[in-house]
Symmetry: C2
Subunit: 248 residues, 2 copies
DNA sequence: CAGTATCCGATGCGATACTG
DNA sequence: CAGTATCGCATCGGATACTG
């Protein structure tokens, strides 16, 4: 690790020295979520540079937090957490809970951009809760000044979800209109689909069954306990202007 | 905060954005320990630059983690944590526990320097457990290449402990000979006074009563639960060369 | 896919000096 | 005591190009 030492007799500070360098915790979080491959981790934390990820992983291996395992046959490389990193889960968990209760959505999400959001979306659509046929969802964002305001998600049973910025040659099953903040807030469980619909920040069109069951196939998988958060969310989701409903 | 955003839909990452900038967590830890004054915090975290502490405190106030309170009469300024910062205690606690169990003393303490260590010592001597008269302790460090190898602690009932690098004009009540790593490890509860004595890394001379009761007046106050740590400490305190006993 | 090599720019940070 | 102001260096980090 870079580990610029503080030089204190304080365990908390010693932990900081290990965990402070940028990307360290997001990487460990992503691996907690199951990622083991270089590029999976990389995209998972939002396309960080290969050079930097490479360095960080080396440092984590050096610290004994991560093990690099190469399959001699295929050459495939996997990174797995050691017990030392697994023992960090209570720390990460506490951090997540704190953030959910103490950082306003407006601040936490103000730097989300739509294409990044759409990439992350792949992890929030649960194909298993959807009919097992090909589906196309169209997302339209009402935020101003977007490079692309429409994105499409292709869901095929058995394959990873594809996100594209060009309209696919298939019939669209579900139309989703919203804004970046509202959609992010749903994924963070800072609000609910129902509330966003009612507030006019979310509009659903097309297949009625898909619309009505959205809260079953669209959710933040890693969040342990939504209910606790939802009780607090009213005060932490600051109202934004309702999305103006416009023609497609 | 500097808060270079990661732009992810991930609460843990949101917490990182707030907590990552250097010194943020040590400052909050120091305030958890009771420090409220600018220079107390500054010295507590090891003499960071005034400019930087000033900036960090401003950022923390901005984030709603700290409140700045100035007494209109005296002009005295106090910094106190808001509830939002108090809610971080579980995070800090988990970090401390993790570090105690997962970072070897050798790594955690390799950047301690003696004068820094001696400054921190002030917090680890509990005057209330000592006879209420003036006491002078002499610390002699056996580490090689020290600018000063001897320090003195002056303990007077009712006043803060003084640390000096020049011999005071008083009789010395207790002689302590050790090395930097060993003493730090005792303070971190990575080892015990008894074990260091036995291993020859710690020598006590002078007042026999003070020697025998050392574990009562010399300890890490903030550590909640020593016993848990002590069970693990054998594997985490890597042996160093025993201190060679030399004439004073 | 899993990286390495290189390069450049921003800025975080520390040191010092100074103020009310 | 509680800061502000300035300055310059280091290094961290991001982008890009290239490799087996």
């Amino acid at each position: 690790m870079p580990k610029r030492p503080y030089g204190l007799i304080c365990p908390i500070t010693h932990a900081c020295e290990v965990l402070e360098p940028r990307w360290t915790i997001p990487i460990l979080t992503e691996m907690w979520g199951g990622a083991t491959r270089f590029n999976d981790i990389r995209r998972g934390v939002g396309n960080m540079s290969t050079a930097l990820l490479s360095r960080r992983l080396k440092e984590l291996v050096e610290q004994g937090l991560v093990e690099r395992i190469q399959d001699p046959a295929t050459g495939q490389v996997d990174y797995i957490r050691t017990q030392r990193a697994i023992d960090l889960e209570p720390v990460l968990d506490a951090m997540g809970k704190w953030a959910q209760c103490n950082i306003k959505a407006k601040q936490a999400l103000k730097d989300m951009n739509v294409s990044n959001l759409m990439w992350q979306m792949r992890n929030y659509i649960d194909s298993e809760q959807l009919p097992s046929r090909q589906l196309v969802f169209q997302f339209r964002f009402t935020d101003p000044d977007l490079e692309f305001s429409k994105y499409w998600a292709l869901i095929r049973p058995g394959s990873p979800i594809e996100i594209c910025a060009a309209i696919p040659d298939f019939e669209i099953d579900l139309f989703i209109e919203t804004n970046c903040m509202s959609l992010s807030s749903i994924l963070l469980s800072r609000t609910t689909i129902a509330r966003e619909l009612e507030a006019g920040r979310l509009f659903l069109g097309g297949d009625a069954m898909l619309s009505r069951t959205m809260d079953r196939w669209f959710y933040q998988r890693t969040l342990e306990d939504r209910s606790e958060i939802l009780q607090l969310s009213d005060s932490f989701f600051e109202e934004t202007e309702p999305t103006v409903r416009t023609a497609r």
